[in-house]
Point group: C2
Chain length 251, copies 2
């Protein structure tokens, strides 16, 4: 039994290009994995269009349902970048130009011999009361307001922003995992896994089938807060797979 509080998060991916299939999202899996390492469980993710009503509603639902909300996308300089304004609206506050953000953008454009356009300055607009999230890649910052972290969509920048705030996140029990790979098909394996799940109720037993060279296999993933218990469950499962007598490989 985990003694620490469970800490949860949600992700909100903002952008028409993800929904049209033009761009394949690369941020959800990064966030899920990194949050997990920090003892925070991502419990839900949503993808919405560049649409004010949809963004505002998703932000307000997710920030109240989970401990943290991370948004990606829509904070650039163009007309379709409406996330910052929508976050301000969701919180019922003004969109204000942040002097530190303005300075960071001005310095970066000057250092790169570029022009400080109004479009670039738009990236200094944040929800009133927000604190900035440093962007070490291209200067224009993200921001945090209460439990909501507003980040860029480009994976390289999103990752830099996430790592800039990772130390500020308060996690709970860190979930460790073990993966057992077997070529015993799920349809034969199922009762064994049901029994294991019932025996280890505080552990999450997941069954993820795959095809390898046309041959069906299963990754059994055990997740839980206690290393010793995971090792014990892996050993138990291994014995039972051997007893099933098929070509199981484990790793």
């Amino acid at each position: 039994m985990a003694t620490e509080k469970r800490v949860t998060a949600a992700a909100l991916v903002i952008g028409n290009e993800i929904l049209s299939g033009r761009t394949v999202d690369a941020n959800l899996s990064y966030l899920g994995r990194r949050l997990n390492e920090l003892g925070i469980q991502m419990r839900e993710a949503r993808v919405v269009a560049d649409d004010e009503g949809a963004i505002v509603e998703a932000v307000n639902t997710l920030r109240s349902n989970y401990d943290y909300l991370f948004t990606t996308g829509g904070i650039g300089p163009t007309h379709d970048d409406i996330s910052s304004a929508c976050i301000a609206k969701a919180f019922g506050v003004s969109l204000v130009r942040h002097p530190d953000a303005e300075r960071a953008i001005a310095e970066f454009t000057q250092a790169n011999g570029r022009e400080l356009t109004e479009a670039r300055l738009k990236m200094a607009d944040v929800a009133d009361g927000a604190s900035l999230i440093v962007n070490e890649v291209s200067a224009a910052p993200g921001f945090r307001i209460e439990n909501v972290f507003v980040m860029a969509g480009i994976p390289k920048i999103m990752q830099a922003m996430f790592e800039a705030v990772a130390d500020d996140l308060v996690g709970g029990a860190v979930m460790s995992s073990r993966t057992v790979t077997t070529f015993i098909p799920e349809g034969v394996l199922a009762p064994t896994l049901t029994t294991l799940q019932n025996e280890y109720a505080d552990m999450d037993v997941g069954s993820y089938p795959f095809f390898e060279d046309g041959k069906p296999g299963v990754n059994v993933v055990l997740r839980g807060p206690e290393e010793a218990k995971l090792d014990e469950a892996v050993a138990t499962l291994g014995e039972r797979l051997d007893a099933l007598g098929e070509d199981a490989t484990r790793g």
Copy 2:
């Protein structure tokens, strides 16, 4: 202006492994792209855990908000495959064993020299009143109930199931697109794109920045139902990019 009705869809990805970052979802982009080709716009996607309450709520919200809902994942034979039962619950109907599904699974297991286990038969359970979605890969079918299509999570199987029902979907105006790639940075390009969006209000002008060899570029994507108008907008944009006088490449 599109003369045909706009047809919308949502996707619901079900599975802990996506949220933990262990598995990278490959289904959303496939669905978004294929639906788009059929004149159906994916307007929202959600990822939820293998959790009854979360699945039921998401199914009921999404099926009422959009013309179609496509779910992926959680219809296999193991204890963590709870999607079919949750869909039945969302519709307030029983989970029933479908005789045609049972037969398909029995034939497939026999043909492959496998045992017809109770776990395998569980995959014949569908929401009462549903029609089956053929699975040409591994027999165990998906199902359709009203506007909800319940499909497998393994991409190869999900794609086969989607293609099995694609002809039954009624789309609206098909959105075509043109992509213009430029190395004029977004911060300079922004006013040009705002003007273009205002001039072509029935077209969606998207700006998608990227890094290539450390150099920032932008894919400008124009989407709309009329080919001729898209070509006209591309030509107009091209002239304006040339006038901006930087190294724009277009394709």
